[in-house]
Symmetry: C2
Subunit: 255 residues, 2 copies
DNA sequence: AGCCTAATGCTGTCTAGACAAGTATCTCCT
DNA sequence: AGGAGATACTTGTCTAGACAGCATTAGGCT
């Protein structure tokens, strides 16, 4: 358990275990920070950091000068930094599937192309393109198109797309995404896409446009088309600033 | 400028000003944390906290043992904890408008009602209901329905909905939301809603279901229907854990 | 009894210092 | 000249202690 990844993570795990195993009722008060510091033989700042993590997860909340309390159960509080489709389907207990529609290396010549713009490339740059139909079980769920800058992934095609996720391959090249910006909008399907998703033309769908960054550099531009009848997105958002860091919002995909 | 809201916020503001006013190029290295500590006469921990905030905003990124760097410009990095429709429209420079469709106090008798479930109430509880058509400029943008538990806002109707936002009124009762969970899905409009939004039946729309919390207690259940041709949602998501708190994802509404 | 005030304890913020782990650079040796 | 190792610097983590602001509680006064 206690890896060297940080004491505060161990303390957070311990407190989380206490909360779920003892099944503490919502709004039960936790021991005070000084008490927790004694219990875990750590400085109060370290305890606070652990509590901040739990608060970000939505497991506890705090009231100034009163204490920290167990929060009311919400939806799947523990999924936090899930991003990959594969990871998510595994978590959901569904078998992730994939059908390649198109792959290859393209040279983007149109200087107005959003691919160039979002990846920060100049006209004429080469990009890797993957277009897949993603399945959950046997049902088609998403049409996923992603573009990666070729310069950063020169030996991308050496890897096996069937056995590894795109994010895994990106990680092996030292450019695993650390954060991303997505825009979500509602569209109706055209004839081609509807056919792929086994729906009728005009059915509602979610169009998600994502730019993912590693060390401040854009490394992925993606457009996903989720079928609207099987997909919801869940977003957690904060309003106030609390505890340690400024702001905290979890997020992830839901079926 | 320098309110007593926290030194680290002042330092964050100062560094942010330096970055935007001097128009530092992306990937320019900032002074090291000890240097910044000397410059702002603060402890390194305080400087780190300011840097963490800027990192959460997407303005800078850091590489271990190397330094902190100016990030590439992204989309509207500074809007973080915007939530209220009114605030957002003001920010956008559009005049927020409102047309009341329905208001009143309801007694919810159906024990299966999602309103009861999400607000943590028992059958028979009373809720305040507001249903409005929200306008940006002169165009209808959203059909917004919200339910609040009456027990926590007994004198809600004394306030003037025309001059204050719902969140302002909630704040005056001591229950300003601090965080929320939203689900976003794609739907097509039925005849009634399409007419309100001045669209044709079957047009795409985003349906957002939100539960907002104050001090760990649910205080708002809302369903918003955004017209799909004028609305995108932007979400920022993090994968790794960095710097101070666990993880950080900003989020907000975009037109 | 009821009200006001002071004491207490808690979270929130900040300081000053230390060590660990990683990167970049410089120096020395071959 | 080129490579390898030592070194200095940077971020990341942690400690111990201090003070401020706030909420609750207990005590004392009317």
């Amino acid at each position: 358990m206690s890896k060297n990844a940080g004491v505060y993570l161990d303390i957070a795990d311990a407190i989380r275990r206490d909360i779920v195993s003892q099944e503490l009722a919502p709004h039960t008060r936790l021991p005070s920070e000084p008490e927790l510091a004694v219990k875990y033989r750590a400085a109060r700042a370290t305890v606070r950091r652990a509590l901040a993590k739990l608060q970000d997860e939505g497991l506890i909340y705090s009231r100034q000068a009163v204490g920290s309390f167990v929060a009311e159960p919400r939806v799947e509080q523990d999924l936090d930094h899930l991003t990959s489709f594969t990871e998510f389907m595994v978590y959901r207990g569904m078998k992730p599937g994939s059908r390649l529609i198109e792959t290859g290396t393209q040279e983007v010549t149109d200087p107005e192309s959003p691919i160039l713009h979002y990846l920060g490339l100049r006209a004429g740059a080469k990009v890797l393109h993957i277009r897949r139909l993603r399945l959950g079980g046997r049902e088609p769920l998403v049409i996923a198109s992603t573009w990666l800058p070729e310069a950063r992934f020169p030996d991308f095609w050496q890897h096996d797309l069937a056995s590894k996720s795109v994010y895994e391959i990106m990680g092996e090249s030292g450019h695993k995404p650390t954060d991303a910006i997505q825009t979500i909008e509602s569209v109706t399907l055209n004839e081609v896409d509807a056919k792929l998703l086994a729906l009728s033309t005009g059915a509602p769908a979610l169009r998600i446009c994502r730019v993912a960054y590693a060390s401040g550099l854009p490394v992925e531009y993606a457009i996903d088309l989720y079928r609207g009848d099987r997909t919801k997105f869940r977003v957690r958002l904060g309003v106030l600033e609390k505890r340690l860091s400024a702001q905290i919002h979890s997020e992830q995909i839901a079926i």
